[in-house]
């Protein structure tokens, strides 16, 4: 069955770079560019993995994560926080939510990020 990946990021680069990494028939990629829509789509579509940025318009990633964890389905949803923020307080705040990976975009190659996604989704 096709896996669903939700990218919540106001920068297009994550979607554009990752979309060429996956075959169309293995992963369906949903993308939204603000936190508010991200939360709505996540709770509606129950994606297999959410890629979440921190600094976004309307609702920031930390609030999205807090609201997600308050939901029955959302509390165990798989989330990778992919951000360029490495401020220790923010990282700590995110980590307190548990069940996540925190990756600094600029420190990761797109191929390694794609591989991480494959591993989490259980794709070969």
């Amino acid at each position: 069955m096709k896996k669903v990946l939700l990218i919540v990021d106001d920068e297009e680069i994550v979607y554009k770079a990752l979309s060429v990494q996956f075959e169309k028939n293995e992963v369906e990629i949903l993308t939204v560019q603000n936190g508010e829509d991200g939360l709505k789509v996540a709770l509606e579509h129950h994606p297999d993995l959410i890629l979440l940025d921190i600094i976004m318009p309307k609702m920031d990633g930390i609030t999205v994560l807090n609201k997600l964890r308050a939901d029955n389905w959302g509390k165990s949803a798989k989330v990778i926080v992919l951000s360029n923020i490495s401020d220790t307080d923010k990282v700590k705040e995110v980590k307190e939510q548990g069940n996540y990976e925190y990756l600094i975009k600029a420190d990761w190659n797109v191929i390694d990020v794609a591989q991480k996604i494959r591993n989490i989704l259980g794709l070969e």
Binding site: E11, I13, N84, T88, K105, A106, D107, N109, V110, I111
Partner: protein, 426 residues
């Protein structure tokens, strides 16, 4: 009552001086007065009365001089300290050691907290509204009585108008006039904290804004090099690789500056220790280092005197950075051909590591500046312009945040060895 030895000594000196003057004057009088005055025995009564008066006046004069001088000195000293107390730009509270009652408060603290002098005097610290947590204040006062010293780097207080402020609070107990007193110095650090927060927000936003376009360059140039989008000529791949590598340098610089700002702000690093095998990590660094410098001939060997897998808690990203910084320095200092040895030794509760090269070495007169930020040795600046001088400063920060130590040996034209330790138990 407790005795104050310093004060006793002070009084003894005054008394001793007066006694010595008294004895000298008496002795001189006894020895010479009769010979000087008693030329006619008929005058004996008159002379002895006169002698008595003169003696009393002389001794009284000396006593007066001596005591007046001491009083004058004490008054001046008290005035000086009173002025310091009244004009200090830190809040000062004086508390009776035995009863815990506030005996004096300076104007600065009255202004800072917005309470009147009456609100402080003859009250316990925890009866003043600013120190809200009564149980905590009582407990800390007991600690202060026992240890004679207490310090809080960042204590939240509330002014009478309800404004929250942050202060540095230092209290010492000492003796004055046979009585123990506690002096509390209270410094308002709210503004400094606010500036720290603004600086930290600025760095956070600036680094985010710098990293975002760098991520775009990194990811898309990587996709182009891997020919995911279409086939490219060898020359095109080479040029895009140049873009990729330059961008990587920029990302490293942003990361280094962020690390430095963390060290500077006293936050140290957000060290996240997790169980891991450091020998596997070293092998990864060696592999990556060779990939990152394809144009140089590099031989890196691992001299491992610890078990094949050495598992303990450390921050793998940060320790990777330590080895990577040390090895890339060794490569830079070694010219076109680099021979580097990485060593590991297990010493009871800690592991010791070294990274040794046979390169240029660090000039003797610059060795004490090696761990300073932005330091680059003269001899390396002439052969390599790549480098910010932040690497070793960050290495030191990371190792110390892990509870380890870092040092080095270096001889010019023979090479340098950097050593560091990491505790094997958290």
């Amino acid at each position: 009552m407790r005795k104050n030895p310093a004060k006793n000594k002070y009084y003894n000196n005054v008394a001793l001086r007066t006694a010595v003057i008294y004895i000298i004057v008496s002795a001189l009088w006894i020895l010479f007065s009769d010979r000087l005055l008693l030329t006619n025995p008929k005058n004996a009564i008159y002379i002895s009365t006169l002698k008595g008066w003169i003696y009393t006046l002389v001794v009284g004069f000396f006593l007066y001089l001596s005591i007046a001088r001491e009083f004058n000195r004490r008054n001046k000293s008290e005035l000086r300290y009173r002025r310091l107390f009244e004009t200090a730009k830190d809040g000062i509270l004086l508390i009776n050691f035995d009863t815990g009652m506030i005996t004096d408060v300076n104007p600065f603290l009255i202004d800072l907290l917005g309470y009147s002098k009456v609100d402080f005097l003859e009250k316990h610290l925890w009866e003043v509204g600013a120190f809200k947590d009564v149980a905590d204040s009582k407990e800390n006062f007991a600690i202060l009585q026992e240890k004679k010293y207490i310090r809080f780097e960042d204590l939240p207080l509330e002014t009478q108008s309800g404004k929250k402020i942050q202060v540095e609070f230092v209290a010492n107990a000492y003796t004055v006039s046979d009585e123990m007193v506690i002096q509390c110095n209270i410094r308002d650090i709210s503004r400094a904290k606010e500036i720290d927060r603004i600086k930290s927000d600025f760095i956070s936003v600036a680094s985010h804004q710098l990293r975002t376009p760098l991520t775009g360059i990194k990811w898309f140039s990587q996709l182009l090099i891997n020919q995911k989008i279409g086939k490219l000529s060898k020359k095109q791949i080479d040029f895009i690789a140049q873009i990729y590598n330059s961008n990587e340098r920029m990302i490293r610089l942003v990361n280094d500056l962020l690390d430095v700002s963390h060290i500077e702000s006293g936050q140290k690093f957000n060290i996240e220790k997790k169980p891991g095998d450091i020998i596997a990590l070293i092998n990864n660094v060696i592999k990556d280092q060779k990939l990152n410098t394809p144009n140089k001939k590099i031989i890196i060997t691992l001299d491992n005197k610890c078990p094949k897998a050495l598992n303990f808690d450390f921050d793998d990203n940060k320790i990777y950075q330590v080895f990577s910084n040390l090895i890339s320095n060794s490569v830079k200092y070694s010219g076109q051909q680099a021979k580097i040895i990485i060593g590991t030794t297990c010493l009871g509760s800690e592991a010791q590591f070294f990274v040794k090269d046979f390169g240029l070495g660090i000039p003797n007169n610059q060795q004490d500046r090696v761990f300073q930020k932005f330091f680059r040795a003269d001899n390396i600046s002439t052969i390599s312009t790549d480098g910010t001088g932040l690497g070793l400063y960050i290495v030191k920060g990371i190792i110390e945040a892990h509870g380890g130590k870092v040092w080095f040996d270096s001889k010019q034209n023979e090479g340098t060895t950097f050593y560091f330790t990491l505790p094997l138990k958290s």
